[in-house]
Symmetry: C2
Subunit: 146 residues, 2 copies
DNA sequence: TATTGTTATACTCTATAACTATA
DNA sequence: TATAGTTATAGAGTATAACAATA
């Protein structure tokens, strides 16, 4: 053996991985496009996840100011994708949840992105799919997913 | 052995991979932030890559309309990050290239994203880094990189 | 006359400041 | 008086339509 295993812990890997991830994400974003804007879609995802979330929480999670979230929720509500409800204990608070129609739209958007990815995964052999499956686990750990 | 290897070619993998990629990309975007807007940064990346690119090509690659690209290049030029030059053969054409300062800004932005990723890669063992290195190759192939 | 890029104008998305309703 | 959300207003960013310069 000429040398030990390269002890690189990502110094060369990081820039390549970064570029590939960013490009793939951009492609997936384009394929997920429904009729709604990126910020509306993002908010809808969060609304479904946190269900019955207050407008303030929502603004904070989505990193926009409350007036902006008021507008976003307005337009989602106009499109029948979410529902506003006044909190019964504290009537200043407004809770937002996804309608059935909103959930369906999310499903469609996800399915399109997934379909794009799946189509490309089909071109790989079993061993390569396995590598990506293990990579997915590692990436999930990295972004703090359960 | 109870069953054959699952012959899944990504049907279960695709949604997980999609989610992990999108989240990581979002985190990296936040870490790369310099003082310029996302569309300015994106255009600058393309300008550096295609060097001496015409404004029309640039608009087409970045998927914006020419007037929008005129604005973006205006502001990049005001900040000293790119340079406009009139084509000598055809004086209708305007060619754009990155200045030294523009390239430095790209380097900084990339270094920050890379540093974030590298920090997380350091928490992995050699075998896991290897899995991600192989995954990077596969993702590169998937997004059509050389 | 056709093509490349720019200017004029309008619409969307976002923010800050001021306001309303409730606690 | 303090808090949750909304309305008013202004600044980016983008698009389409009209224009200028060049081929």
């Amino acid at each position: 053996m000429e040398t030990l295993e390269r002890t690189s812990t990502g110094a060369e890997l990081a820039p390549r991985l970064r570029l590939a991830i960013m490009r793939l994400a951009r492609i997936l974003r384009q394929h997920g496009q429904e009729g709604i804007s990126a910020s509306q879609l993002s908010a809808l995802v969060t609304i479904e996840r946190l269900d019955s979330v207050t407008l303030g929480e929502l603004a904070s999670v989505e990193k926009v100011q409350p007036p902006t979230m008021t507008r976003i929720v307005d337009s989602l509500e106009d499109q029948g994708l979410v529902r506003r409800e006044t909190d019964e204990q504290d009537r200043r608070i407004c809770r937002v949840s996804a309608t059935t129609q909103g959930r369906k739209m999310l499903d469609r958007s996800r399915r399109r992105k997934t379909a794009y990815l799946a189509a490309h995964l089909r071109e790989l052999n079993a061993e390569e799919v396995d590598v990506l499956a293990r990579a997915a686990e590692l990436l999930e750990r990295m972004v703090g997913q359960p």
